[in-house]
């Protein structure tokens, strides 16, 4: 009992004001409604007559006879996924040409963090994987950085020391993008860096966002990535990020995509169009491919155990 009390006090002092840590992950919050409506208040209007949206969420907890609303302005334009993890409510979806993740603390009834990214996916109870946002038009050598947000950690713990110095949560006019912990590519992991452009003539990695990511047992995150200046020169491979040591200590391995399972080579024999990834077994993933290009609709790839 004494140990539990000490832990609670530690959490209170370690957290930013008003932010509650996941002291009781067994909290049983239910989402009753999620609503996105334009915020037409002129005082909230952004430059160039841009109107934000009001995200309103109704949550309840039958065991505590609690039912109330969370609400905040956001830039989300369409919600693709929303869920509760412990005392956190998360909404993810489109925000114009970007994607946005908004994190609320249910107990304090506040938006505690939000950021722009590409292709966010919840890969486990507390982990969200996504590609760091970058301005793609005209950028010759992007380097897509895969980040991980851990809902069991505080917003501050989900930022590297080099993250842009914005308030948390940031005002709507400031778009935070340097949020989360890099787990790929290795240069960003080793340098503890958010830099997502290649300086010089090198080739950046591109994460195949459309295929998604899957977390296998032993906390192995699997996804497809590619390198090359354009489609004709792209070559792709599977990336396995072992996160058994936590998001701050990823171990990265890449493996070739076994093309011998295809009946046709496809337009670029070094690049496989992967439309989806799912877990096939404890140590294998299934890659979905266009049948018209490869003569098969999917292949199964063994993933190293550890």
């Amino acid at each position: 009992m004494k140990k539990m009390l000490s832990f609670s006090l530690l959490c209170m002092f370690a957290s930013p004001p008003g932010v509650t840590l996941l002291a009781n992950p067994a909290e049983d919050w239910k989402i009753e409604a999620v609503l996105l409506t334009p915020d037409t208040d002129p005082a909230h209007r952004l430059p160039a007559d841009t109107i934000p949206q009001i995200l309103t969420v109704t949550v309840s907890n039958p065991s505590e006879a609690a039912r109330f609303q969370l609400s905040s302005d956001v830039r989300l334009t369409r919600i693709r996924d929303s869920f509760v993890a412990g005392n956190r409510f998360v909404a993810m979806g489109e925000a114009g040409s970007a994607d946005e993740v908004a994190v609320f603390d249910i107990v304090s009834k506040r938006l505690i963090d939000w950021f722009y990214c590409y292709a966010p996916h919840r890969v486990s109870a507390n982990w969200i994987a996504y590609v760091e946002w970058y301005q793609g038009h005209g950028l010759a050598h992007p380097k897509e950085v895969l980040l991980m947000y851990d809902l069991a950690e505080t917003p501050a713990e989900n930022r590297l020391p080099s993250a842009g110095r914005l308030p948390v949560p940031a005002p709507l006019a400031n778009g935070p993008v340097q949020v989360g912990i890099p787990v790929y590519p290795e240069t960003n992991v080793l340098m503890r860096s958010y830099i997502n452009v290649v300086e010089g003539s090198g080739e950046g990695d591109v994460v195949m966002q459309e295929a998604g990511y899957v977390l296998l047992p032993l906390k192995r995150l699997v996804f497809a990535a590619a390198q090359g200046e354009d489609f004709l020169h792209l070559r792709n491979y599977l990336v396995i990020v072992n996160l058994s040591g936590g998001v701050n200590h990823p171990a990265i391995e890449t493996i070739d995509i076994p093309k011998d399972q295809f009946k046709k080579a496809g337009e670029n024999p070094r690049f496989v169009k992967i439309t989806g990834i799912e877990q096939a077994s404890e140590n294998a993933v299934r890659l979905f491919v266009p049948q018209s290009d490869y003569g098969v609709s999917s292949i199964t790839v063994a993933i190293p155990g550890s």
Binding site: L46, P47, A48, D49, T50, R75, T77, E94, A95, G96, S97, A98, D99, E100, Y116, Y118, A119, V131, W133, Y134, Q135, G136, H137, G138, L139, A140, P142, S162, G164, A173, N174, G175, V177, Q178, Y194, I195, N196, V197, E199, V206, M208, Q209, E210, A226, D230, F231, L232, L234, N236, E267, N268, F271, K273, S292
Partner: protein, 225 residues
Amino acid sequence: MILSDGRLHSSIYTLITNGTLGPNTYNFSFGLNSIPIGEYTTITATWTVNGANATAAFGYHFKVMGTYAQTQYNTPAESSCGGSAEAVTIDDSSCASFASTLLSNFVFRVSDQTTGTGSGYSNHYHVVKPEVYCTHGYSTTTFRENSTLVGALGGLLNNSTVAACSTSELAVNGTRVFIVGEGVKTVTDLCPACCKDTTHLDNYSTSTVCSGLGTLPGALTIRLY
């Protein structure tokens, strides 16, 4: 008339059957409202004249990709944006910087992550882009002056160019696409937002409006070889 894939013998689309016509010259539609997704390499026409069959084949390679979302982007002019003077930093190509101002609506329209264009015609610094390299990360308050307006794949940007997802088969500089209702356009730029569903192209417009460019209707997109 038949469209077929001469290599794969898998995509065969019959355009017209049982047409009885007199001697003349006729135009036949490709039937774009119903043409199936697939790759075609040959157009074959077959006539039956007085009980005898005649056939002609014409090599024409194209791939029906399906209906793609068609968004638009542009390079707005600061003079069309308005707003108040906002303090910014201007970088040159050697990362030497100085303090200046740009109109606030222009700053937002160029640099905002959800609606930003990524480039703009400023009143004093020619084409500006949000700084990435000198600032070691994307900046919404630092801009590179005298930037080059060119697509990520190296081609020019104009009313006949589009941006595609970097892992799309269309992401090769110079790839031509026929967008029904829009005409033939060329891929010269990349578009990360287009990777959300991959069936998405971002159409460049030379309009310099600050906002209200709008979205084009989704349209059947055909890759031309």
